[in-house]
Amino acid sequence: MRYLPLEPEDRRAMLARIGVADIDALFADIPEAVRLAEPLDLPPGAGELEVTRTMERLAARNTPAGSVPFFIGCGAYRHHVPATVDHLIQRSEFLTAYTPYQPEIAQGTLQYLFEFQTQVALMTGMEVANASMYDGSTATAEAVLMAQRVTKRAKAVLSGSLHPHYRAVVETLAHFGESTVVALPPAPETMGGGEAIAAHIDAETACVVVQMPGFFGDVFDLSPIAAAAHAHGALLVAVVTEAVSLGALTPPGAMGADIVVAEGQSLGNGLNFGGPYVGLFATRQKFVRQMPGRLVGETVDADGRPGYVLTLASREQHIRRERATSNICTNSGLAALAFTIHATLLGEAGLARLATLNHESAILLAEALSTVPGVEVLNETFFNEFTLRVPGRAAALIDALAEKGVLGGVPVSRLLPDRPDLADLVIVAASEINTDADRARYRDTLGQILAETTS
């Protein structure tokens, strides 16, 4: 086995030093009745070539996003990631390091996390950010828990703008963690901030959770919701699933959000069929000790030189155990590294331009698809994602498009199967990767399929 350095001669000599006759003696504590005598019923080991063949065969049964005109979003977005990013995150010293528990020999990780925290705070318009969470959905659930700690209240009000998966994650934790959730139904007709969410905020409310851009793609001002929440002593949790939007939109922090959580996959990270991604988590300085997750802070070493350490660990499970702010034990280090490298390559100017290109790509796509008879763009406003109403069942249409080599979006029924009233909606995303030819192909294929089905 190529990964195992010990030779039979080593094993013999080592057993002799230990003073046992054979390897079985080292497993004597396992009760004999449950010790496996036979090998597991699995195939024997394989060489690199054989494993590569197996994996390539499986990979070939999928349609990569980059091989077709691609317009799927809903919480995961395809962007061009510079080659430098993947090279750097594969540096041995980043890829194969552990959590920086020994800061003297982990300054590389600690410094990039400090830079990451700064970038996230700047992009969200908040004062502080942590060193990342698992992903946007779990960060949202953690934000709700944090708001409950800060306000000492149990109820969370979820806007219909929240991604249905995110809502489900919050609901799972609320149900089994014994707190209360009021979830408003997703409603395309309330796009643009038309949801009557303020009516659900009361003196028991810990937080209001609103996604912007919303699940249907609309952008709107969070300030009125922030004001309504604050009037009742509740916090506003703003959720962002497309981090590139932060380059074009007023940051949630400037619209009154108390906690901003985001899915950071869009920068530096590929689609990966849903993971690993990277959750962003930012808040106000005054709440920092209620924050979940790892934090890196600046300090000095014994010689007075600047350096970085994990700090405020007394919030965390390894010290506080059942009183910890969260049970989380890790962050999403390498995905955060990819994020921060991509953000560094973009810089202020690059992120702003990338956001503009995404927005323009969506405007062009909306114009193109609006020309297809029977198809309606529901959004007044959007960033790089919007909602289409199509004749008939959207899911069947998306499948038909896929048959013809266009990945055309997400039928709302995929995420909300219990809402037949929304079964004719498709959420469509655009980004800088889409060309004029991609858009024309989508428009023409859509038109062709609809013409065939209605004729």
Binding site: R289, A313, S314, R315, I319, R320, R323
Partner: protein
């Protein structure tokens, strides 16, 4: 300082009329090491004897601080927000945590005086 009483959880209370000033003992701060943050109760909060009143963090530990007797919090030591190190420097003086209006003076009788506390600490070691 005969008016100081101690708990087995290493809190002290100094009584002045019906007001008690509460902190952690010098022995406790020594055990905790460098104290980095003190979470104080809200003024007006009513505390039950033995109930959680405050929390104290050091780099490697976090501990709850319990109310030595029942009563209502009337003042907290705001200086600790800025400078938690005061607890290390002067645990039984400037490093006090909060003042409370004592509900039942009889509860003080359950606490140790200094010599009893010192014996208790020695026995623990």
């Amino acid at each position: 300082m005969s008016d100081m009483r101690f708990t087995r959880e290493h809190e002290w209370i100094r009584v002045d009329g019906d007001i008690g000033t509460v902190g952690i003992t010098d022995h406790a701060q020594e055990q905790l090491g460098d104290i980095t943050f003190v979470e104080l109760p809200e003024v007006g909060k009513s505390l039950a004897k033995g109930g959680e009143a405050a929390a104290v963090d050091s780099v490697k530990a976090a501990s709850e601080v319990y109310a030595p007797v029942s009563g209502e919090v009337v003042e907290v030591n705001g200086a600790l927000d800025e400078n938690a190190a005061l607890v290390n420097e002067d645990a039984e003086g400037k490093g006090w945590f909060f003042k409370m209006r004592i509900a039942d003076e009889g509860e003080l009788d359950d606490l140790m005086d200094r010599s009893a506390y010192e014996t208790f600490v020695k026995e623990q070691a």
